[in-house]
């Protein structure tokens, strides 16, 4: 297969994986009964899930035209956007129903998906903070990679659990597909980048 065709297929698949759930959510009946802020908060969550799929693809340089260095630079910006999307998601929900968000943030919500969402949020903030302070704190590359990747896996798993358990505007099939792709991309990126190198090296030394 020509690299051009391969590139078109990869980008096409990514665009479909992201645009389909957003389009389906945009046509949900539930939107009619929600205010602008609530709708925006919901879509910020969907966008965050889409960005979570993009992140491992950029980190591992899977996107044609965005090989390692350019991909990594974009990975930083997408990471920052992800933090902003989550702040918008939680902030918008807070404005919509403060007590429900307080329950979630204090892990006293009746809905398990709230706990998963808050866990994913803190995992994401930690992963982003680690990247942001990596140079200031002079974190060794192998340590950074292992910790950042471990947090990323945590975010993908808890974020997916959060999304899958919610009865909301997203279509079930497109939601499952988006989460499964994010998980698959993360696992493949970890395998290819050997993100656990820190552990195996230590073991050999010991």
């Amino acid at each position: 297969m020509g690299s051009k065709i391969r590139g078109i297929l990869i980008w096409g698949a990514l665009v479909i994986a992201i645009v389909a759930p957003i389009t389906i959510a945009a046509t949900s009946d539930y939107l009619a009964y929600r205010s602008g802020i609530y709708i925006a908060a919901g879509f910020a969550g969907i966008v965050a899930m889409a960005l979570i799929l993009i992140q491992p693809l950029l980190a591992a340089g899977y996107l044609p035209g965005l090989a390692m260095l350019r991909g990594r630079r974009l990975h930083h910006w997408v990471g920052a956007s992800l933090v902003i999307a989550i702040l918008a998601h939680v902030g918008g929900l807070w404005l919509t129903s403060p007590p429900d968000v307080i329950d979630a943030l204090t892990f006293t919500s009746p809905t398990p998906f709230s706990d998963f969402g808050v866990l994913a949020m803190w995992g994401l903030f930690a992963a982003a903070a680690l990247a942001g302070f990596r140079k200031t704190l002079r974190i060794r590359p192998a340590v950074f990679r292992f910790a950042h990747t471990a947090l990323a896996v945590f975010v993908v798993v808890t974020g997916s659990a959060h999304a899958l358990l919610i009865e909301g505007t997203m279509g079930t099939t497109s939601k499952i597909a988006l989460c499964a792709l994010a998980l698959a991309a993360t696992v493949k990126a970890i395998a290819d980048l050997r993100s656990w190198a820190l552990l195996t090296r230590r073991r050999r030394r010991a």
Binding site: A32, L93, S97, P99, A191, W196
Partner: protein, 166 residues
């Protein structure tokens, strides 16, 4: 620690185990033991009092109706049906938010201890199609319930109270 390298299988099986645990959590409900040492009072549910507005007026129906909230109120211990108990109801519906005053209304139980109040169709909000009910009076301990609809297409929802005398 962490000797096992992460691969698809370990990750997926961990995910499946997590999902199983979640399902178990999600389906647990507040079963009241029939009659052990008398009928046990219904505990308040987590999040039950969210967006509560005390003193909602007794109404014929909330908004334009089309959906039925039903239930019963009994006394803890002997299980006697309680008449004239004021139950307050609110939800996110096709006509408004939980916070909106128009989304709130109250009704009284009949001689058989049951109540039913017509209200607008409940739509999923904050991830679940759910309603809120409150008993908040002087004679019995306050109880807040937050029942979840098995399907968002349901057109009724039931919630039963067993109240503990103060």
């Amino acid at each position: 620690m962490f000797r096992t390298p992460m691969n698809r299988r370990t990750l997926l099986s961990a995910g499946a185990a997590g999902a199983g645990a979640l399902l178990a959590m999600g389906t647990s409900s507040h079963f009241v033991p029939a009659r052990a040492a008398g009928l046990a009072p219904t505990p308040s549910m987590r999040g039950g009092s969210n967006n509560y507005r005390p003193g909602a007026p007794i109404v014929e129906r909330i908004g334009n109706g089309g959906f039925w909230m039903t239930g019963s109120v009994r006394r803890a211990g002997d299980g006697a049906p309680l008449e004239g108990i004021r139950i307050q109801i609110w939800a996110h519906t096709t006509e408004g938010y939980e916070r909106d005053p128009e989304s709130h209304g109250a009704t009284l139980t009949g001689a058989d201890g049951t109540f039913r109040l017509e209200m607008p169709q409940i739509v999923p909000a904050f991830g679940q199609p759910h309603g809120h009910l409150a008993y908040d009076g002087d004679a019995y301990e306050t109880v807040f319930l937050r029942p979840v609809m098995p399907s968002p297409r349901d057109t009724s929802l039931n919630a039963d109270f067993v109240l503990q005398p103060v």
